[in-house]
């Protein structure tokens, strides 16, 4: 009897420490952040002192004031996600089906750039694309870009940096789902007189959808909240929501606005992600 009882309890005992930890340091902070988001400054207090007044208009103010950065965050994140998908899909396809005995080595090479600090790599892009790098001078000589055009401090550089940084997050799930496809399904499609393009469109792509969904989510979510690429590769006019939240926190000590923006960002991401998963029709993510 006691053994049956302990068997029933065992999973809960295993979960307990981890979930207690996540409750204290993940759920509680989010609840606390929600509380902060409706506070207002104390009438004659110091900077950074706030009281709870349930002012939900904080959200509207924060959104209206920063709607440009908000829109930019999502546009940049969507561009970076689509670009990463366009680069990663053939890459994952080549590793899964065309690499032969080099498969494992190539997989390691996909993760390898991760091991050099991502900040170092982002700064490296800044210098590569900079005036003294090896990209701009030849392009100038060839007349592809004008004398006054720069590549750094542009939205282009920010999107390029984000695409770069999140590329492995896109490639690995794509590879995982492509690798699971039985090559005989593709052969069968060929036997039934489908050409290469039709086989890809009707067989390979649908079977790899779980990877596409997982990869785009793993790229889009961190990209939408990113501020490092915009800070290093961008200019004041390419600031994203992350930059605003960061400066509200550290430079202006405006906690309620930062909290309200954080929540709006999270809610927008969750809504988009839910719609996307519904539409793409996979529930196997978790």
């Amino acid at each position: 009897m006691s053994s049956i009882l302990s068997k029933v309890k065992l999973p809960y005992l295993l979960l307990l420490p981890g979930f207690l930890f996540l409750f204290t340091f993940f759920i509680l902070p989010i609840v606390n952040l929600a509380q902060t988001s409706t506070q207002t400054p104390i009438a004659d207090g110091d900077t950074g002192q706030y009281e709870q007044t349930f002012r939900f208009a904080n959200y509207i103010d924060a959104f209206v004031e920063n709607r440009e950065q908000f829109a930019r965050s999502f546009i940049f994140a969507i561009c970076a996600t689509l670009l990463a998908l366009a680069i990663a899909y053939p890459l994952a396809y080549a590793i899964a089906f065309k690499s032969g005995r080099f498969k494992n080595i190539l997989l390691v090479l996909i993760i390898a750039p991760f091991f050099t600090s991502f900040l170092l790599r982002t700064v490296a892009w800044k210098q590569i694309l900079g005036e003294e790098g090896f990209v701009v001078p030849p392009l100038r000589t060839l007349g592809i870009i004008g004398e006054s055009t720069t590549l750094t401090s542009t939205s282009f550089a920010v999107v390029l940096g984000m695409t770069y940084n999140f590329l492995p997050f896109m490639t690995l799930p794509l590879y995982a789902s492509l690798e699971r496809i039985d090559p005989r399904t593709m052969e069968a499609s060929g036997d039934l007189y489908a050409n290469g393009i039709t086989t890809f469109r009707r067989v390979t792509l649908p079977l790899s959808m779980p990877g596409v969904v997982a990869g785009t989510l793993l790229t889009f979510i961190p990209a939408a909240g990113d501020y490092v690429n915009a800070a290093i590769l961008g200019n004041p006019n390419s600031k994203m929501l992350g930059n605003v939240i960061e400066s509200r926190y550290f430079r202006i000590v405006d906690y309620p606005t930062a909290a309200a923006l954080s929540f709006t960002l999270m809610a927008a991401i969750l809504i988009l992600v839910t719609l996307y998963i519904r539409k793409a029709g996979t529930e196997e993510l978790v």
């Binding site: 295993l14 981890g18 902070p29 991760f114 091991f115 600090s117 590569i128 909240g225 909290a259």
Partner: protein, 279 residues
């Protein structure tokens, strides 16, 4: 007339052959460019670790080995590196233990609240880092805990746990249940089965999860920036010095980490291949 025809015949297959070669290898060519894109900044970082640059490593000034011989040459850099390693190790230990326990509970047992548990694991991964970092800092401020070393460790454990759970759970799911049944048939009790059969089989998954946790923690900037206060970590060091040019020693450390991690991964693959052959 016929002569002209004859002359054109051999050129057509040559062209066709070339275009067929392109068609067949298009994806490989594309993949080659993909990998080039991935490795340009890595190669750049490595090359500039040999730059005789003085304080700011912006322009190539000449080859030197000094930076590699004296990686701690730049002020603060090794303190920052040390902090990153300490935080990374602690965060890895805690998140691997907690995450593996959760993975066994979710991967092995059907219990009430299992799907809720899955959701709770998924949520930190779906939360943007900046929100995680900002919310934790708010909590620490409410309890008047100063940001610093331990708050950073806690913050890292929060986002590492989910990745550990997902990695270990995948390994548990791929286990053949017959192996455990066989152990039980041979009169091993549950604890013995777990210790002698299940755990060794799951171990590679746990090792991979620990490696992942360490690299996530070591490389993290956003959450660290919120919760570390005045403590410097390696990514923070790079970010702060980015404005006035990063010392070449940072490139040395970044490149060294790259080769070290690559060596660990390749060694791991060789070991697993060897054990497979021995079996």
């Amino acid at each position: 007339m016929t002569k002209v025809k004859d002359a054109t015949i051999p050129t057509i297959p040559a062209q066709a052959r070339l275009s067929r070669w392109f068609g067949r290898n298009l994806i490989r060519i594309y993949a080659f460019f993909g990998f080039t894109y991935l490795f340009i900044p890595v190669a750049y970082t490595f090359a500039f670790s040999f730059n005789d640059s003085g304080k700011s490593n912006l322009i190539w000034k000449g080859f030197t080995l000094d930076n590699w011989q004296n990686p701690c040459g730049a002020p603060e850099i090794c303190t920052a590196l040390g902090n990153s390693i300490k935080i990374g190790l602690l965060a890895t230990i805690f998140s691997t233990i907690l995450g593996t326990m959760i993975a066994f509970a979710i991967g092995r047992y059907a219990f009430k609240g299992r799907s809720t548990s899955n959701l709770l694991i998924f949520l930190p991964m779906a939360t943007p880092e900046i929100v995680l970092g900002a919310s934790l800092l708010s909590l620490f401020l409410v309890f008047q805990i100063n940001p610093g070393f331990w708050p950073t460790v806690i913050a890292h454990v929060v986002f590492c746990i989910s990745f550990v759970v997902v990695t270990v759970k995948a390994r548990i799911a791929s286990l053949d249940p017959r192996l455990e049944q066989a152990a039980m048939d041979l009169y091993a009790n549950e604890l013995q089965t777990f210790r002698r059969v299940t755990l060794p089989l799951v171990a590679p998954g746990i090792a991979a999860a620990a490696l992942l946790a360490f690299s996530l923690s070591f490389d993290d900037f956003i959450i660290t920036n919120f919760n570390s206060g005045t403590l410097t970590t390696f990514p923070k060091f790079v970010y702060v010095s980015a404005a006035r040019g990063i010392p070449a020693q940072a490139n040395v450390i970044g490149s060294a980490m790259f080769f070290l991690a690559l060596a660990i991964v390749i060694a791991g693959q060789l070991i697993s291949k060897k054990t497979k052959i021995n079996k």
